[in-house]
Symmetry: C2
Subunit: 407 residues, 2 copies
Amino acid sequence: MDIAFTLPLAATSDTAGVLTDLFLVLLAAKLGDEVFRRIGQPVIVGEILGGILIGPSILGLVEVGEVLRVFSELGVVFLLFWVGLETRLSEMRAVGRIAVTVGSAGVVLPFLVGIGLGLALGESTETSVFLGAALAATSAGITSATFLDLGIARSRAARTVLGAAVVDDILALILLSVAVGMAADGGVDASKIVLALAIAIAFVGFVALGGTQLLQRRPKLLQAPRFAASPLLPAVLLCLGLAAFSASIGLAALIGAFLAGMIVAETKDHTSIEEEVRPLYAFFPPFFFAFIGIELDLGALLDGHALLLLGAITVLAAAAKLVPAYLAARGLGKREAAIVGIGMIPRGEVGIVIASIGAAEGVVDAELFAVVVGMSILTTLLAPFALKRLSRGAGPARPAAPQPARR
Amino acid sequence: MDIAFTLPLAATSDTAGVLTDLFLVLLAAKLGDEVFRRIGQPVIVGEILGGILIGPSILGLVEVGEVLRVFSELGVVFLLFWVGLETRLSEMRAVGRIAVTVGSAGVVLPFLVGIGLGLALGESTETSVFLGAALAATSAGITSATFLDLGIARSRAARTVLGAAVVDDILALILLSVAVGMAADGGVDASKIVLALAIAIAFVGFVALGGTQLLQRRPKLLQAPRFAASPLLPAVLLCLGLAAFSASIGLAALIGAFLAGMIVAETKDHTSIEEEVRPLYAFFPPFFFAFIGIELDLGALLDGHALLLLGAITVLAAAAKLVPAYLAARGLGKREAAIVGIGMIPRGEVGIVIASIGAAEGVVDAELFAVVVGMSILTTLLAPFALKRLSRGAGPARPAAPQPARR
């Protein structure tokens, strides 16, 4: 929506409207950031609340549209690209086994709880499976941003959550395939799902191992083209390319972006790539957080039944992730296991995406959609506060470079 | 279009498609850049040809769509923001009078030539007025990028062209209002046009004078918010806000971005704002250049009549800008006057936008649309070559900071 003064003259109003939307969303996110920084609370919560404020729920200045959705997607892509830049393959290997355990445990229980809850509510099997898939999701974006803001992104617990989120997304690919298959024609093609799984695992493994080794051996490769006075644009091309491929095989785009960041990190000793990526990391992610708030429809939640449902689903969603993840991560010690458990709670954009797909397939109705979006946002808002409290005094696992906050 | 391998599983294909488009467009632009850098030719021509290659004219990998249009718009916005960052108000004032003369002369003759040509071809008055407006346009984006690539962006000639392009855009606002008014209801509301003109001039004057003075006095203002560890995001917000407002009053968005850059430049002595804007300037503008190529429809130009028309319009368009601009800039000396004259020739995106509006109003048919797009691209491709030749040995008017090329 265009709230600026508009003369009814030229047909440039499309441009004006889109630029105004982008301006308003970035402004709202940064105002929320500002307020929450001043009261000492988690920045990303402020950015999400900024989005709720200007979205359809309250002021109605902007609406959900294709351009904002793309900026939101690029927001989480550049966020995870940045996280990847801060991650070495060896660090991920060190937490590999425990991350797989946490990720698997954190998918199975919430999925079953979601299905059970759906059936108990009298929903169809198809709808219940979607509810299960939405509860099984984990938002690597939200948790990563919180860990970055708290300065503990390089801790063992943060690495574990990140690894678990990747495992979780691969498993979610299967769940979602099952859910869509059931909703579309009532049948599930097992061979298709096995193929998808094999492709996803091969992609992650091949890119993570092969890509990092290639740039370890030839760290100047990104500066080989003449247009690349610095490695920035080759690195961004790698990020967009892997994100697009990742999305096209059914994984989250952010997984490709994370892998790209981890590959590019191998050139870090030789260039100032982080300094160059930082402005993109400052510009795009606020759109991701604000957009989560814009997607909320408070109006649809303002009745007793919906509120009750929202409360119950949110409590179940939190507990069904926290408990198995905590138990699976016990080997890290109590406090770190608690950080892992809470870090797995936020459903963020992933829960919303799954609910949207269910709505598009016609098996998730308007109320359930609003409830799942509300649950995704509530679990997202809870975790940063709890993590902030827990992380006090929890230093990084090893002396790490200082973690500058997002500007 | 999604050319990546796609599994028919999840409904994430929208994301995959958009990310693939963005990846392909950036890749094509940078490959064009690479090839033209290697053969020593103007980089932006390479980027436009990259767009033609992947666009509907040849490979058909991407199509004109809303998201690419927004990225193109942000490309020219961040391009002119960068140019503004390199510009001081005093430098613009020094060329003020001559820029107004060049801009005015460079609008009146092409407008009359366009109308005359349209009438001579048997077109309606409404159509002829649109043709005139398209010929009167000047692309500040194309010329600025060429001057930046040649390292003469701070020369007197470059400043003159930039100032003239701003004047040109204000006059184009009037012409376009007349053209749209005639096409829509056959009538022109003079009071509306005077009001639009007054608002446009007040906006440019007020922002340029007031904004620069404000930041001259309080150069740390952009770092006042706590979210702003650096001035980057406040500066980007100023850029998006002024660009959106500029577009909403009927001017080109890039004028607001240019003014924002000039205002932010006042903080340069105190911060490293240029280093921070540079990655955004590297990322977005290639979308602008490639998109110009994507908009070309070579198929519609492949017949004798259209080709003849294209040739005639292109020659007239070039001559009708070159001659009056050269004469108006004679005071700068012959070579600089020639640089100004040639610098005014590219119609770039502005000619295409005007033709699009005419097509939307139903007075520009498919053939004429393709011809005007072709003319805009041909004038855009010609100028960099000529400027490159002329600029050899033409140093900046005063010792300037080194101009790093776009990466």
